[in-house]
Point group: C2
Chain length 167, copies 2
DNA sequence: TATTGTTATACTCTATAACTATA
DNA sequence: TATAGTTATAGAGTATAACAATA
C-alpha cells in the first residue's frame, strides 16, 4: 500500500499533519473529552483524579498504588500526591497491605462511591450521545481497534512510560 | 445494542474502565507515542513543540499564531511562550502580517526545515513499524474513524477547548 | 540488594484574567 | 467594541533523583 504524503511550502515530504496517528488520537480524545469535562469540573476533579477514581471503582478489591499507577498511566510521584488529595477530600481510603508492609491498599470511600455513582449517569449520557451520533456499532468496533493498537506495545528502547498529556 | 457494564466491589454499575473511550484513546496514544518520544527527546523537543513544528511544516504558507493554536490544540498563552522559545532556538521565524498589524505570521526557518527533515525519516520509520504490526489497511481505516469521531464536535456547553494532555 | 512509596526539585503546560495594540 | 497576541499568576502534572522503610 502506498503511503500518502504531501509536500508543503517548506518542501518537506511527510505524512500530512492531520493524518498523523498521534494527532488523530489527540483530536479524537479532545472531541470526546469536551463532553466529559464540564461534568468533572462540576465536582472539582481533574481528568487524572477521575481516572484514579474510575480505576478504583472498577477494581474488585482494594489495589496497590503501583497497580493504580499502571492502570491510569500516572507516575508514582504524581499519584502519590493525588492520593493524599483524594484521601483528604474523603473520596478514597488507604489501608496497609496485610502481606507487605510497604504497600498501601486503595479503595473508594463511601463518599467516593457516592460521587462515582452520581457522576456515572452523566458519563453514560455522554456515551449515549456519541453512540447516537457516531453509531453504536462503529464505536464498539473503534474501541476494539484502539485496544488492539495499544496492545501492540512495540518496545521502543527508552521508555519514559508516561506523559500522555502533559501539555 | 446493549451496553456492557460491570459491577465492581463498590457495586457501581458502569462501563468497564478499559472500555472507556477516553481511556482507550489515551492508551492508544500512549502506545504510539512510546515510539516517537525517544526521537523527540533526542532533539530536545516536547510533544507540543513538535506539534507546532509539524503544523508549520504542513502549512503551504506562513500562518498566524491563532491558526497554529487551533491546529495544535494549544492555548494562546502556552503557544506564545513556545513561539519565543522556538524562535530563540532559530527553528521558526515570525514576521508581521501585511494586512493586519496585530498578527504575526509564523514559518519554519531553514534550521527548522532541516530539523523536521532530519526527524521525518525516524517518524516515518515508526509509522512503518505500526503499519507492519497492525496492518496498513487497518491503520488507514482507524485514522478515518478517528477523524470522523473528532468531527462530531457535539457541542458541550462549557468549552475550555483544551487540556487534552495536562497530566 | 531490590522493591514500594514518598519527598525534593525543576520544568512544562493548562487556564483564567488583565493588558497592549491594532482593527 | 472586538480581535490578536502578550504578560501575569496560580496550579497541576511530568520527570528524575534521592530517600526511607520493608522485603
Amino acid at each position: 500500500m502506498e503511503t500518502t504524503t504531501t509536500v508543503s511550502s517548506s518542501g518537506i515530504n511527510m505524512r500530512p499533519f492531520t493524518a498523523s496517528l498521534p494527532m488523530a488520537l489527540l483530536q479524537a480524545r479532545e472531541a470526546t473529552m469536551r463532553l466529559f469535562r464540564p461534568m468533572l469540573a462540576e465536582y472539582d476533579l481533574t481528568e487524572q483524579q477521575w481516572r484514579v477514581l474510575r480505576a478504583l471503582a472498577a477494581a474488585k478489591a482494594p489495589i496497590s498504588i503501583s497497580e493504580v499507577a499502571k492502570q491510569t498511566f500516572l507516575l508514582a510521584p504524581s499519584l502519590s500526591r493525588m492520593v493524599v488529595n483524594l484521601a483528604d477530600r474523603g473520596l478514597i481510603e488507604r489501608s496497609p497491605a496485610a502481606t507487605d508492609q510497604r504497600k498501601s491498599q486503595l479503595a473508594l470511600s463511601p463518599a467516593g462511591i457516592d460521587l462515582v455513582r452520581t457522576v456515572g449517569p452523566s458519563s453514560e449520557a455522554a456515551y449515549s450521545r456519541i453512540e447516537d451520533e457516531f453509531g453504536a456499532g462503529r464505536l464498539a468496533a473503534l474501541l476494539v481497534e484502539l485496544q488492539d493498537l495499544a496492545l501492540l506495545d512495540i518496545g521502543a528502547g527508552t521508555t519514559p512510560a508516561n506523559s500522555a498529556e502533559k501539555g
